[in-house]
Structure formats: structure tokens, C-alpha cells
Amino acid sequence: MKNKQLTKTVIGIVMMLTLGCSKFLEEKSDMSLATISSKSDLYALMDYTVVMNQSYVTAVGDIASDDFFILDKQYMGISQMSDRAIYIWDRKPLADWYWVSYSRLLNVNTVLEHLDKIQLDQKDRQNLEGMALFFRAFSYFDLAQIYAPAYDQKTAESVLGPPMKMSSDVNEKPIRLSLKETMNLIIADLKLSSDYLTDQNLTYPTRPNRNAALGLLSRVYLAMGDYEQALAISKRALESYDKLMDYNQINSGKKYPFERFNPEVLFFSIHAAENLSRESVLRIDTVLYDSYTDSDLRKTCFFSKQADGYFAFTGDYSGNSNAQKFNGITTAELWLTKAECEARLGRLTLAIKTIEFFMQKRYVDGGLMEPFPIAQEELLKLIYSERRKELLLRGIRWMDLRRLEDFYLGKKEIKRIIDNKVYSVGLKEIKTFTFLFPQKVIELSGVDQNQ
């Protein structure tokens, strides 16, 4: 009898325990893993600097531009064929790391898709949406520089922009819109972004604020040749914040004189690592170097003499010495944009004032002696010279080569001589030049290779 009772009890306990298990099974297994359920999760995705603020692709454009050269022996020692190809405008599929931009777009799409699924107050929602749209616009603009031709009003509707991903769904295949539609989308994103973001100065400019969005927008308009808009936008940004560092105060004796998040930085990001942009390899074009006058403080702040007698660029704003160079947005760029637009639109007095203010921060005190040119063409030449000397290795030279007239560039082609062989590309060709997508993209995405 005792045994029967014991038996029953045992069976009873068994049944009871097996039924009360749901909570046991709901327990989260790995605490560091999370589903997206709160605003901190969305912020954390936007703050994932590894992908959001790195691996921009205009690094490729820098290699293909005329600001820098590589010594023959160094060039021959580069082991990756696709890298060597960029330097001589030989269209070969780029290496895989020129596609990290799409991880950035995945974060952007995920955040945008969750904005309505999570409880957010107005301020956070706008902030998050503003940031997401900024990153989306910057990514597509960056990709367009390399994978699409230059923007030309006449042809923009018939050429394709870069592949675009509109959602985080793995099964959705990317689409390519016309370059015109792509640029429209970029502009719309940046306009909305600048509305949503505040102009508050952030401790860490890895997050964009309104001025960053406006800065990028003015760059976009400049790329499209819309000087009116570029001027209006850059003015708006500068009215909010216009600080320029006085290079007279910079210690040019230090090899890397600039701090990472210095006062000129509106938005901080860096290029994809490029074997040819390594400091040990890249040398500034001798003619360009000589164009810096002795009273130009950038001559000493930006360059370090190398054992081979040439100069390497050590003045970028990334605070690193490796191959990932700064490509973000600075107030200096906005000043230069403003001056260029004013000059283009004929407001020469204003342009002179702008460029003079800028140059005072770059030249030795009182070193700015010569009178400013008053004719439009001469003034623009001066402004372009300053622009080129200032915005080195930021992916901007490639953009300028593609949008400016031969007259202002002072040449018709770029030429290189390696091991007694001559390689050259005409500026006309550069305007329609597109690099080829990495092999993996063609294999797996269904996108057709650029022709």
C-alpha cells in the first residue's frame, strides 16, 4: 500500500513539473544577444562606427587621381593585381572590401524599419531617422562617385546609379535607378535629415548633426553643378557653425599635428583601407607640392619628407597613420564651397572676402600679401588652387576632376610613367569612368557588371 501511494505521488509530481515549463523555456539564452526592442538598440546600431564611419569607397578615386604618385619600385611590389590596376585606370573588378557600404545600408534599413515598431518619443525618432537618412545618402553618394559616371544634366537620366537596397530583407534583390533619380533620392534624404537633426555640437562627430547634413548636401549640389543651391546650403551651415582652426597655432613639428575630432570636423568618417594609400607608399605630386608657397602653413603641417626625397601626406584628420584616410565633412570644405559658388555666380566681392578669411587661417600671419585677383576666371583659379591644396586624399579630387572644365584643371589628361611604360587617361574619359564591381557581387546579386 505504501508503495502504491509512493508510486502515485511520484507520477503526480512528474506530471505537475512538466506542465509548468513555459517560463523556463522563455529565458533568454545569451545576454549579449538581443532583439531590437528599445531605442538604445537603434542608437547602438547607428553608433556601430566600424561600419557606419569606415570603409567609404572614394579611396579608389584618390588613387586614380593626380594629387599623388607612387614610386616605380613600390608599385611593382604591390602584390594585389586589382590594386595595381586602379592606379593605371585598367578596369578590373575591385577587391571585396569595396562593398562594406552595404553593411552600413543594412543597419540603416533596419533602423528605418523599426522606427514604427518601437516606442519612441518625438525627439529620439527624429534623431534616429535623421541619422539613418544621412548615412543612406552619404553611402549612395560615395558609391556613385566610383560606380557611376559623373553627373551631367544631359545624360543623367540615361546612365545608371549604384545598386540600391531599399529594405533589410535578404531576399530583395538590389535595383539600379538612373543617376538622376539616385541623386534626387540623395538630396531628398539630406533635406529631411537636416530638418530632423539638431545643430547642436556633438562631443563625438561620429554622429551627424544638422550641419553635417547640410555640409554633405552642399557637396552634392556642387557635384551636380548647382551653384545656387550649394551656396544657400553652405551659407546656412556656416551661419550655425563656422569655426576654422588657425594653422598658425598648430605645432607643425609633430609628425601628425592634427587631433582626431578637432573643431573643424562636422562629421568624422574614414576611407576603406587601400594598399596604395599607405603612407609608406603614396607621395605627393611634386608640382602640387611646389605650388604650396613657403608662407603656406600647410606645406609643413601636411607633409613629411621621406628617405627617398619625396613627401608623404601626414596631415589628414583621421589621427591614424595607416591607410584609412579621413573623408568626412569639415568647415574648411564649406568655406571653400561658399567661395567657389559666390565666384561662379558673379558675386566677386563676397567671394574675395570668403576666400581671404579662409586663407588667413592657412597662411603665416601677415603672409597674405599679394592683392587678390578681381577677374572671375583668375579668382576661380585661385579658389580651385586652394581647394586642391586643402582637401587632399578625401575622395574630393576625383569628384572635382569629373565636374570641372579642363581650363580650371589646367590639363587635358593624367599621365603616369612606370618602368618606362606610359599610362594615361583623358579627363573626358574620367567623366564617364566607372569602376567594376567586385567579383562576388556579380556572382551572387544578379546585378550586371558595369560596361
Partner: protein, 1072 residues
């Protein structure tokens, strides 16, 4: 040592009372019964009284009665099918029970599944049991490594073996019955479920001492393993630990063994001589290959030869001085010093003491062991302490209670593996490492001439001495495990028992990396952060050592309630069980990093500003911040609930039917509860032909046919159906916002991996068990295997794990044993043969570019392909310029990138299997009087691999030049004589990558190996000796290859890499 003393005292105090029960009885007659391990009496056992040579046999019930004229007689007990026993019978023993253990090949074994035990004769599943005698053949640090040459159907994957692992506690990669999952090792991979007694053991297998293990049972087919449900997908290995037994006299056992390996043969990595390597350096220097490095401000490391060449170019040296400077390097091989000072013969010492005994109501076992393994790498060693105490008591007619406590500890000290020789050589292979008593510095990370003089004495010594890490290894790890089992067995009604079992398992892991100020790692960071300002030294990086710690704790609670019912009536025998289990495991770890650490007073710098940027000394780099890179914190909880049942039915011991069913559920992250429960089941049939009336063979005494069908699964808690993000600890620009990345994209279709296992087998025993064996044929089909599918890069994620693949496996396991005796000479032979192959049935990915298929260790994804297929580029020889040629669009081509990225796969040749399809061992044992000699031959057949050859990328960049360099193409016409491509400059990386995977480098891997040779001596013991048995043994392992299919001078067992060395062991076992 103190621990051992304490434990011995504990053991003695517990076992002392048990001695009392061993002696009772009347005078002049010795009586008793001799039984086998299942309690059945053995007839016809010979009992020989040693003093007068009389032989008495047991009757049909196994009972014996001996007249003695002394109160104690010494006897020798023997039977053909059982292991002999020498013992002392006392006339005081009226009810003596002697248990004989079966010799190899015997069919009457008791098998364990972790839930129940059953007689082999009545089981329908495929089990393989390895007993103590076989386990004790070799000396190994962990128990799983012993199984390789003792089992069928288990493949030990050595494709990632590195000789640097020799002597280190490593877990072998085991595949039971082929492929059950495509997940990589990091996600559990192919690892079988390891059970220790009744519950799964997820800790480091190296915590368990092999001396703790009594037997190992492999559960191979569905009927055997389906009872473990969603964890049995990869197969199940049940480790049964030693226990006490009721009514056995007190027995103590002491074992000691030492194993010594030879030093690893570094010279089997065949490279060009230092002299020829330097000539290549000369060539590269002239071409300007090193100019970038020489000019760079970060002063990257260059070889001493390049330093000399540069000095000559600058005019510092003349030709003569240059030649004199280079000369010593031309004749030095770094391996000489490495073998002298860095490597040694690995060694393993094992000591074990155990005592057990039992009375009618109480039995106990206590054990303590100490093992030490010294790795081939002089810096590394590991110590293990293992101890165990178990007790079992019959409280009354209804209740049995048992308990056990096990405490194990592993302590290791090691250096980082990267600083030593590897299968890719060593940079600057012509250096010396030691001069007299002094460890020499080698160029490392920086240019030697720079760090030698920089700083004008302000900086810490910046030199790197590889042997320093050997002398003072910086990494300490300590693992501890406390396991406590409690069991209650209730005898409820006739045939009905209830089992309650509880296990508490506690693991503690600590890892410490100590980079004190004398280590290069710390000195380097401090120097890089030093600033000289106005004659003052500023240390931006904290001055002192660096201590990085990781602490992990894991607690596991398992609870099981089970009802068992057994009944026998009118020829029907039924045994059934049903139960429920809960399992909870909490695993957490934390990381910590201390800077400016002083080990003498344990102080460290506490006010570190991780956001402050500081310049790198000498412009060697950009601005830095102090890295905050401690180990991440983790916290993982696993909960498991299961319900299960088994039913075994037999009719007249002729027809057997068995079934099992199990439902598992787990807190699989993100999936709704409904999908968390999945039932898994099995069914098996058996036919004992030898019990049939029509079966009248006098030769075959046992013949069983059996078959089973079972479903089991594989669960992986890291999979989720929702978008999953993972938080990261820190940012490299010291931006203080938390960061998270996306690790998993949404997948509503997520399901568990499932396996369907079909097995048919035949077991037989003939000529009175002198010839026995089993043959199994199995067919496995897996569904919904998780596989990382490469995604379109435009998705933003490189790959995603989906339930993507179905595979199938087929195999045959053959196990044959033969025994023959001639007078006092006994021979037994055992043949183990396994055939296994696996195919992809379906996957979701599309065909990829050829580069994906030629990867080493790659798994094919083409339906119909073998899972482990070896692919290589079609080889069309060298062209007239010495360039390798492939086949593209039916034409010879040197457009390597086009070949490697081609849309079609006709540039590839499918060679065959990358894994042996047939493998096994053949073992011969001879025993004569007190000697026992056994030899094992192992074989692996029908597979291919690619041998290594010259890679110009490795030669230029890593100073590793394969000897094939000497056979390279050098002038037109050579293409008819050689297949080794020419050296070209600038480097053609495409040609290099193409050649590495070309079909010309494919070799057959088939080989037959003399695996081991063992000699054991059991000396005759004097009469009246207290010693029950004594054995000495010596073993030689890894003796050498007997035959290999490839004609090249490489070892196919290790795919051409530096092989595991030969080893010698010896030891002794004493029981009293």
C-alpha cells in the same frame, strides 16, 4: 602534495570499516560460485589449486566446492572465454562470489545508455563497448583520444592538426558515422554528446582522468541513441566511471605510467637552404622590393640580411664586409636552436590510486589521481588532479541511495603559439636564438637597427627575445570542476522501481595573461607611448605590466525522475521506462584588464583615461588611445525540458522489439513555444536466430539479426528567428556610445536539424566464442542542416545560417575477433573495418565560383557531390615562359583571375574524397605465460590531398621557400621537364593562387601504419602474497608508415605537414 595526503586519510577512514565484512565462515571447505558480470553462473571454470595442482571445475550453476587442508588456499581460475584470475580462497568464505570478466569478443556484456542498462543479447541497437583492458593499452591525457584505434565508424579528423599541439590537452575532433551537421566547430560542430554516467558532460574532456573511466559505450544507431533526443544527432559516447560493488572484498589499486615522445621533426618541413634563401633576398633587394619598408616611418621589421644590403648600398660597407656579414646567416638554420632550446620531447606522467569494496549493504569507492603533461613546446605544461568518492547503500528493502562527489582540477601554463615554428616556417629562418647562456634578440615588429639605438637610453629595452617567452610563459589557465551526484532508487511494487537522480556540476575557469614589464609586449606599448618633452619623460601608456583576466563560472543542475518496469511471464519479457528531465545551465564570464601592474605589491594604475589621445613615439604611428580590450562579458542560460520513454519487448528470447520516444524543448531564443517541442523516436527489431528450434548449428552458438530506425536531432541555441544584434564593449576611437552589430537577419522558417538513422546489423559468435563479431550497415539522412550560406554582398551580411542542407551518409562497420589457444600460447586477432561516405542531397545555395570549391577543408555544396570532395584546377603544364596554365573555354590559359572566377566549373577537376572512405585497425595479441605482446596496424584508404609546393608569395613575404623551388622553371625548354612555375617579378599573385590548388599537386593519401606495439609482463606472485595482481608494460606508438600510396617523400597521415612524433610509454599496475 598536501591535497594528496588529505585525500589518502579520507579514503582510509572511509574504507577501513569495509574490510571487516570481507571475512566470515567455517573451516576446511571453500565454497562459492563463479559468475560473469551480469550475475549468471559460469559452468566449466577451471580452478587450479596452486600448491598441489588439483583442478576443480564449476558445475552448471557455476558453483564450486573445494576441500582444503589449510584455511587459505591460493588458486588460479581460468576459462577460455574469460580472463584468468589468481586469488586466495579462504575456508571462511561460505558464500564466496567470484566475478570473471569476459575476454574480448564475448557477447554477454551489459550495455549502458545513460538511462538504463541492458544485456547485449537482448538489445536491438548498435552499441560498441570498450572495456578497461583496451582503454588501458595506451597512455593518453584524455579518454576520447584512446578510442581512435578501438572503435569502428568513428573518424578522428586530423586535417587541422599542428605539431605544436603535441602534449597539450586538446579535444580530438570526432565524427561518428560520418556527417550529421555542417556547423563549424565553434558552434558545436560534429562533436558527439558525451555522457558521464547518466548526464551529459559539457565541460572540457581533459578535466576527466582516463583512470576514472571503467568503460566506454558508443551509441551508434537510432535505437541506441534516440533516447537522447535533440542532442544525439552527432552520436553519443557514454563514459561509465568506476564504482564500488556490493559484497566484494576491499581492493586497492595503484597505477603509474610515463610516456615520452620524441622531439617534433622540424626538418620534415622541407625548405630551401639559408644560403639559397639569402640569394633570393638579394634578388628582391635589387628589384627594390624592400624599398617601401626601408623608407617607411613606422620602421617595419626587415631581415638582418636586408639591413646589410642596405648598408652596402649606402656605402657604409664594401663588398667584402658585406660578404663577411652575410656569411654566418648562410650557414645557420633556426631549427637547430629551436630543437635545442624551444622544443623537447613531450612527456606525460600519470599516477592513480583507488580503493573500493563493499559489504552487503554498503559499498564505496575512492580514488585520487595526478597527471602532468609537458608539451613539445618547452613553455607549456598542464597538471591535473582528479579525485572521486562514491558510496552506495541499501537502506532497506525499498530504498537504495547513492552519492558521489568528484573534484577535478586542470592547471596550465603556456606561451602564445604564434612565436614559434609552424607548418609555414618561421620568418628569418637563419637566426640563432641563444648564445651561451644568453637569449638572443631577433628582428621583430620593428627594424632592429632602429630600436637598437633609438631613445638615447630613455626608453626601455625594445628588443624581442623569443626564448624569453619560453622561460616565462605569460598565460595561465585554471579549470576546476566539482560534480556531485545524488541518486535514489525506490522499489515500489514487484518489477516497478523509481529512480530519482540529481546532478550538480560546477565549473570554474580562470585565464590570466601576464605581460609584466619585462615582456616585450609591455615594453613595446610603454615605449610607443613615451614622450620626451623638455628633457622630461612622459609615460602616456601606464608604466608597468599588463594583466588581462577572464573569469568564468558555470553551474549546471540536472534532475531526472524515471519509472522502470520489468516483467517476465510465459516467455514474454517486457521492460519499460518513462521519465522526465530538467536541466538548467548558467554560464557567465567576465573580463578585466589592469595596466601599470606591479606583481610584487599587486598595485596598478586606476585612473586611466581611455579617451585621451597621445602621439606614438618617433612618429612610428598616428595618435593612440590606451586600448580597453578586456574579454567581453557573457551570460548564457540554457534550459532544457524533456519527456521520454523506452519499451523493450522480447518473446522467448527469440523475437525482440524495442521503441523509444522523446520530446525535447529548449529556450531557443526567439521562437514561439509551439515550435520548441519536437518529438523524436526510434523503433528496432531483433531476431535471436540461435534460440530458434530450427537452428541446429554446432558451430555457431550465437546469431542475431537486428535493424532499427530512429530520428534524432541537433539543437543550437545561438540560432534565432528574429533580427538579432550583439553588443560590443568598446570603440577604437574611445567614443563612449555602446555599439551593436547585426548578427542574424530574420528567419521565421528556423527549424532544428533532424536526422533519420536506419541501421541493420548482424552479430554472431562461433566455435564457442573463439570467432565472434558484428557487421553493421547504416544509412543516415539529415534534414534542415544549418549551413552558412554566402549571401549577396548587397544584403550587408556576408553569410547567413539557414536550414539549408540535406545530406546522406552510408557506411559499414565491421568488427571481427578471433581467438585461438595452443597449450599456454594464446593468440587473438581483431579486425576493425569502417566504410563511410557522405553526400550532399540538396542545398539552398547556388553554384559558386571555383575558388570556393578548392578551399582546403571545404565542403562541397553541389547536389550529388561527396560532402568532402577534393577539387583542383585542371592543369595544362607550364607554358614556354614557365607560367602555369589552366584550362579556360577549352583552351590553355594564364588568365588566372578569369579561371578562378569563372562562371562554370569546367575549369575544375573533381578528384575524389578528401577524407578516407575506408579506415580501421588490425590488432594481434599473443599471450604466453606471463607475457602479453600486442601490435596494432592502422590504415586509412581511398582519399586525396594537395601537397604543398613553392608559393612565391610565401617566399617573398614570409621567407618560407619550399624545396620545390629548386625544380622550378628557369629557361625555355624546362616546361618539358618540370611542373614548378618560374619565379617572376613583380609577383603574380594569381599564378601563385592558381598553382597552389592545381591538380598537379594532388596526391593519394592512402597509407598503412604500424600504430603501436605493446608488451606486458605479469610476474608470478609468491604464495600468500598480499598482492592480487601486478603488471608492467611498455608501449611504442606512432612507429611508422608501412606503406603509402604516394611516391613523394611526405607523410600523408598529416597531409604533408610536420607529423606527430613517435612515443614510448611504460608503466605498472598493482592491485592488492
Amino acid at each position: 602534495m598536501k591535497n594528496i595526503l588529505f585525500f589518502s586519510m579520507l579514503l582510509l577512514s572511509i574504507t577501513w570499516p569495509l574490510r571487516v565484512y570481507a571475512q566470515q565462515g567455517t573451516a576446511w571447505i571453500c565454497q562459492g560460485v563463479i559468475q560473469d558480470s551480469s550475475g549468471k553462473g559460469i559452468a566449466d571454470v577451471n580452478i587450479r589449486v596452486i600448491k598441489d595442482g588439483r583442478v576443480i571445475k564449476t558445475d552448471s550453476t557455476g558453483s564450486y566446492k573445494i576441500n582444503a587442508n589449510l584455511d587459505k588456499i591460493q588458486v588460479e581460475i581460468s576459462h577460455l572465454n574469460y580472463k584468468s584470475l589468481r586469488t586466495v580462497l579462504s575456508t571462511k568464505d561460505i558464500k564466496k562470489i567470484l566475478i570473471l570478466s569476459a575476454k574480448m569478443g564475448m557477447i554477454d556484456e551489459v550495455l549502458v545508455s545513460g538511462y538504463h542498462s541492458l544485456h547485449k543479447a537482448r538489445s536491438v541497437g548498435s552499441y560498441e563497448k570498450i572495456d578497461k583492458v583496451l582503454l588501458d593499452r595506451t597512455a593518453n591525457f584524455d579518454v576520447l583520444s584512446k578510442l581512435e584505434h578501438l572503435t569502428t565508424g568513428t573518424y578522428f579528423d586530423r586535417s587541422e592538426y599542428s605539431f605544436n599541439d603535441n602534449g597539450k590537452p586538446i579535444e580530438p575532433k570526432i565524427f561518428m558515422h560520418g556527417v550529421s551537421t555542417l556547423r563549424k566547430a565553434g558552434l558545436g560542430g560534429s562533436k558527439p554528446l558525451v555522457i558521464v554516467d547518466n548526464f551529459p558532460y559539457e565541460g572540457d574532456i581533459n578535466l576527466l582522468s582516463p583512470n576514472d573511466i571503467e568503460s566506454v559505450t558508443l551509441l551508434k544507431d537510432g535505437a541506441a541513441s534516440a533516447i537522447w533526443g535533440a542532442r544525439a544527432g552527432n552520436g553519443v559516447i557514454v563514459l561509465t566511471t568506476k564504482k564500488g560493488r556490493f559484497e566484494t572484498p576491499l581492493q586497492q589499486e595503484f597505477k603509474a605510467s610515463i610516456r615520452m615522445d620524441m622531439k617534433p621533426d622540424l626538418y620534415s618541413h622541407r625548405v630551401i637552404s639559408s644560403k639559397d634563401l639569402i640569394n633570393v633576398e638579394h634578388f628582391l633587394f635589387e628589384k627594390g622590393y624592400f624599398d617601401g619598408k626601408l623608407a617607411s616611418n613606422s620602421r617595419p621589421v626587415i631581415s638582418p640580411v636586408v639591413e646589410l644590403l642596405e648598408a652596402k648600398r649606402k656605402g657604409v660597407f664594401d663588398d667584402e664586409a658585406l660578404a663577411a656579414g652575410i656569411k654566418p646567416y648562410q650557414y645557420t638554420d633556426v631549427r637547430d636552436d629551436m630543437l635545442k632550446y624551444m622544443y623537447r620531447g613531450a612527456a606525460l606522467q600519470q599516477y592513480n590510486y583507488s580503493v573500493k569494496g563493499g559489504s552487503e549493504k554498503l559499498n564505496g569507492m575512492a580514488q585520487i589521481g595526478y597527471d602532468r603533461t609537458l608539451a613539445s613546446l618547452r613553455s607549456d605544461k598542464t597538471d591535473r588532479i582528479s579525485s572521486q568518492l562514491s558510496l552506495e547503500a541499501r537502506l532497506n528493502r525499498f530504498v537504495n541511495i547513492s552519492g558521489r562527489v568528484m573534484y577535478n582540477e586542470l592547471k596550465s601554463i603556456s606561451a602564445l603559439a604564434t612565436d614559434f615554428y609552424s607548418d609555414n616556417g618561421y620568418p628569418f629562418p637563419y637566426l640563432k636564438l641563444k648564445e651561451g647562456r644568453e637569449n638572443l634578440a631577433v628582428p621583430y615588429k620593428y627594424r632592429y637597427s632602429y630600436i637598437d639605438t633609438v631613445g638615447a637610453g630613455n626608453l626601455l629595452d625594445w628588443k624581442y627575445r623569443p626564448l624569453d617567452y619560453i622561460d616565462e610563459p605569460p598565460i595561465l589557465t585554471a579549470n576546476r570542476n566539482l560534480l556531485a551526484d545524488l541518486g535514489l532508487q525506490l522499489f515500489l511494487l514487484k518489477g516497478l522501481t523509481a529512480d530519482l537522480k540529481y546532478r550538480y556540476n560546477f565549473y570554474d575557469r580562470k585565464k590570466e595573461e601576464r605581460y609584466f614589464i619585462n615582456t616585450f609586449y609591455a615594453r613595446d606599448l610603454i615605449n610607443r607611448g613615451t614622450q620626451v618633452s623638455n628633457g622630461n619623460l612622459i609615460y602616456n601608456f601606464p608604466y608597468g605590466g599588463i594583466l588581462r583576466q577572464q573569469d568564468g563560472v558555470s553551474t549546471e543542475k540536472n534532475f531526472r525522475m524515471q519509472l522502470n518496469y520489468k516483467t517476465d511471464f510465459k516467455g514474454h519479457s517486457v521492460s519499460a521506462l518513462a521519465g522526465a528531465e530538467w536541466r538548467n545551465k548558467d554560464d557567465g564570464s567576465m573580463g578585466n584588464i589592469l595596466y601599470g601592474y606591479n606583481p610584487e605589491n599587486l598595485s596598478f594604475v586606476s585612473n586611466i583615461d581611455f579617451s585621451k589621445q597621445y602621439p606614438t613615439f618617433g612618429g612610428l604611428g598616428g595618435n593612440n588611445t590606451i586600448p580597453f580590450n578586456s574579454y567581453p562579458n557573457t551570460d548564457i542560460t540554457t534550459n532544457f525540458v524533456s519527456l521520454y520513454g523506452i519499451m523493450d519487448y522480447g518473446f522467448q528470447n527469440r523475437y525482440l522489439l524495442s521503441g523509444s520516444v522523446r520530446r525535447d524543448a529548449s529556450n531557443l531564443f526567439g521562437v514561439e513555444t509551439n515550435n520548441k517541442w519536437t518529438p523524436l523516436w526510434s523503433v528496432g527489431l531483433g531476431w535471436n536466430l540461435h534460440n530458434e528450434k530450427f537452428f541446429k548449428s554446432s558451430v555457431i552458438n550465437f546469431l542475431k539479426l537486428r535493424g532499427s530506425l530512429g530520428y534524432s536531432g541537433n539543437v543550437d541555441n545561438s540560432m534565432s528567428a528574429l533580427t538579432t544584434i550583439q553588443y560590443f564593449g568598446y570603440n577604437n576611437w574611445s567614443v563612449s556610445y555602446p555599439m551593436a552589430r547585426i548578427v542574424n537577419l530574420p528567419n521565421k522558417e528556423l527549424r532544428w536539424e533532424k536526422l533519420r538513422n536506419v541501421n541493420v546489423g548482424i552479430e554472431f559468435s562461433a566455435w564457442n566464442n573463439s570467432f565472434s563479431g558484428s557487421i553493421d550497415y547504416y544509412n543516415k539522412y539529415t534534414f534542415d542542416l544549418f549551413d552558412a550560406q554566402p549571401l549577396d554582398p548587397t544584403t550587408g551580411i556576408g553569410s547567413m545560417v539557414l536550414n539549408a542542407a540535406n545530406t546522406k551518409s552510408r557506411g559499414i562497420d565491421v568488427n571481427l575477433a578471433l581467438n585461438k589457444s595452443w597449450r599456454e600460447l594464446n593468440w587473438s586477432g581483431s579486425l576493425l573495418f569502417s566504410y563511410n561516405n557522405n553526400w550532399i542531397v540538396k542545398t539552398l545555395t547556388d553554384q559558386q565560383s571555383p575558388t570556393s570549391y578548392v578551399l582546403k577543408g571545404g565542403i562541397s555544396n553541389l547536389p550529388g557531390d561527396m560532402v568532402y570532395s577534393l577539387y583542383a584546377y585542371k592543369w595544362q603544364g607550364l607554358n614556354s615562359e614557365g607560367k602555369p596554365q589552366g584550362l579556360l573555354n577549352h583552351e590553355n590559359s594564364t588568365a588566372y583571375w578569369d579561371i578562378m572566377g569563372s562562371k562554370g566549373l569546367d575549369v575544375l577537376q573533381k578528384i575524389g574524397s578528401a577524407r578516407p572512405l575506408y579506415f580501421g585497425t588490425f590488432r594481434n595479441t599473443f599471450s604466453y605465460k606471463q607475457f602479453n605482446l600486442s601490435a596494432t596496424i592502422s590504415y586509412r584508404l581511398k582519399y586525396y590531398f594537395k601537397r604543398s609546393s613553392i608559393s612565391y608569395q610565401s617566399l617573398f613575404g614570409k621567407y618560407d621557400g619550399h624545396v620545390d623551388f629548386y625544380d622550378r622553371w628557369q629557361k625555355p625548354g624546362d616546361e618539358l621537364l618540370t611542373d614548378v612555375p618560374a619565379m617572376v617579378y613583380p609577383l603574380d599573385d594569381g599564378a601563385d593562387l592558381f598553382y597552389k590548388d592545381a591538380s598537379v599537386l594532388v596526391e593519394r593519401g592512402d597509407h598503412i601504419k604500424f600504430q603501436d606495439l605493446r608488451l606486458q609482463y605479469n610476474p608470478a606472485l609468491p604464495i600468500g602474497s598480499k598482492i592480487k595482481s601486478l603488471a608492467f608494460f611498455i608501449v611504442a606508438e606512432n612507429i611508422g608508415l608501412i606503406w603509402k600510396a604516394t611516391k613523394k617523400d611526405i607523410n600523408p597521415e598529416y597531409f604533408g605537414n610536420i607529423p606527430a612524433p613517435r612515443s614510448f610509454s611504460m608503466g605498472a599496475t598493482l592491485t592488492f
